[in-house]
């Protein structure tokens, strides 16, 4: 879970959210009930594109609904639908808390 690998994996800072980098945390750090919006998706591969296609674009609202026990996947509300992601995969999504 080294932060270095994550930031190295990206080439996409070019169009990060207007909120800037401040307060952007990996989504897997969030606990159930926390909500806010997507800052960017730190993966330049097809999986990162898929997350964006599903609506995880800068500024999109995200809420953590629940986390499965034993570090299982987490369940999110993205825009208007429920999506589950494994923790390792969710780590690529940088989010900023609302408010």
């Amino acid at each position: 879970m080294a932060d270095g690998t994550r930031s190295a994996a990206t080439s996409l800072q070019g169009h990060a959210s207007p909120m800037g980098e401040a307060g952007a945390v990996p989504l897997d750090h969030w606990l159930p009930g926390q909500h806010g919006s997507v800052v960017r998706v730190d993966r330049a591969d097809a999986f990162g594109d898929r997350l964006a296609e599903l609506g995880l674009t800068p500024g999109a609202p995200v809420t953590v609904l629940r986390k499965a026990p034993f570090c299982g996947p987490m369940l999110l509300r993205v825009r208007q639908f429920a999506l589950s992601l494994r923790l390792g995969e969710a780590a690529a999504v940088r989010v900023a808390a609302a408010g």
Partner: protein
Amino acid sequence: MPDSSATGAAGAHVRPLQVALCGNPNTGKTTLFNQWTGANAQVGNYPGVTVERHTGHRQGQGRPWRVHDLPGCYSLTAHSPEEEVAFLALRGGPDDPPPDVAVVVLDATNLARNLFLLVQVAELGVPVVAALNLMDAAQAAGWRMDIAGLQAALGCPAVPVVARTGQGLAALAAAVEAVAAHPDLGRGPGTAWSLEVQTALRAARSLDPVLADASDGVLAWILAAEPPLVDRWQPGLGARAAAASARDPGAAADVRRRLIHDRYRRIDAWVAAHVQPPAAQGRTASDRVDDVMLHPLWGTAVFLVAMTLLFQAVFAWATPMADGVNAAMGWVADQCRDHLSPGLGRDVLVDGVLAGVGGTLVFLPQILVLFLGIALLEDSGYLARAAFLVDRAMGRAGLPGKAFVPLLSSYACAVPGILATRTLGDPRDRLLTILIAPLMSCSARLPVYTMVTAAVFADVPKVGGVLALGGLVVAAMYLLSFVVALAVGAVLRRTLVPGGGAPLLLEMPPYRLPRARNLVRVLWDRGRVFVVETGATIVALSVVLWALMTFPRLDADGQAHAATVARIEQTVAAGTNRAEALAQAEIAAAQVRLDHSIAGRLGHALEPAIAPLGFDWRIGIGLVGSLAAREVLVPVMAQIYGRASSADVDDRFAADVGQTMARAGSLTPLKGLSLMVFFAIAMQCLNTLATMRRETRSWRWPLFALGYLNALAWVGSFAVYQCGSALGYR
């Protein structure tokens, strides 16, 4: 093909209106398809992939419609076979004209993500009509929509519908006819790219003459799509586009992401302007149900109960129906025997073809029960929850959570289990699950285990005075095959089926009541495809196996049998004794015939290879015969040992055969254990092979499974027998 007969003399053939239905998964697209096409639908396959192709007819105004139900997908950039198929169907090809109209089915409660696909479809230049489905649920939840405003923004008709009840479908059909007559009415929202994307499009145009002529939308698709798919659409183009983007991969990735962000920016603006969300967006009913269903304790309990019921249904409740099929096929076989004149023709019909047909139909109850269960779980929305719960545990074996149901079903039988892998989205996850499914200890192994344990472990004192050794050994076999499956899965993941497994990315659809009509359609399609396509392979293999067990027929054997019959008829007085003697003579003749057949010779030839496992040539013949199904080992061994044989393998028959083998020295505790280990691991089931071939669309993977599983089984049995012998057991 009705499509190719399109242009005939006026009135002779009216070219049908080609209508494509596309949409995200869980939008009610299939329900709409069923409503429109009723019973006039066929299921087939797209060439080269295992994605099913559903088409149907509907009578429109003036001319018939041909409706294509494209696979559900979130995007057209082809990260999955479903998306590839949807894209190619929308673009059309030399044999398949592009659709005249694409109906994009949208979930009205989740418009933004659904509109993304509509924008992509419109970018390709296909005239579109938006069907705002689940409008009743949206209104109940408090959504308000300005339909006229949406229509203006989307540049196409937007029709609110409730596909379940049929509400709004007439208006939707009218909109389709209108767009078919005037494609401009469905031109879509057009494109509006950011400066970065426009620059990238201009740069791409200057690179290649084909790209220079492409529309903005098509060009955007080429920049984002996987090169192999671009190549399939325009040979050579994908490689050129890939080479161009390889010069600056970072910039290419940036543009790909930019395209997505640009689309969503417009979509968000439309939704903000024309859709009013519910005043209080609190927790939905589905969220509250999930408090139980996804609870660490209660959720696990519900999962265990659901899976136990599913397994019981496949394992036990389908059995009476399977017995009925067996009885019916037995009756048909008897009728054929009684009414056809004896000879090879009758034998090949009864013992080859009918045995294969029966061998196919006997799976049907299990398959239908399993798919009814899966369809209920899937349509209700529970399957996604189950996958969420077990994903972590399954992940340790390199498998996705959704592989749980197919593997569980394989404990009853690998054939329905392999069919059930269709619920897995990722092709490599699916292949891996198919390859280890035969290791799950299926019910056909039980008669073999019974045969061995009754013969060699029955008289052993109970372990600790309570546990029968036989039962323990059988339990150990279940454990062994499970452990081997985990190990094989881990190895294959690192070698032949690489990749860390597909990301989870699982949509949790709201809970919904399954529709009887959709269930019937699924069962009908599954059953028909299995019987027609897999059945053909099973019958062919069954005939081959029959020939192996039958030929060559030696004249000398026939004459000897005739002489014996004549002698009995001369010396034994007519009555019970004579009938008894004749039956004995027939059994003896069958024994000799099998011994002289190709299978018999194969058994003898196999002996050097299987002697280190403790098996003699008789078991070798049994191994050949059990290719029809593992439990066939029992009647084949009965035939070899000159005992009355029966296709009906019950416990007493199995035990009797095993005891006969033990008396002859073919079966000792150590040899029995070795035989059980072999059966626990080996791939011996032609029906499974036929199903694998149908589901992977090649002989490559079934032959690979046949090779690796039998090699593993040999190694396992070798280890058991040789170590046991060295330790002084026998």
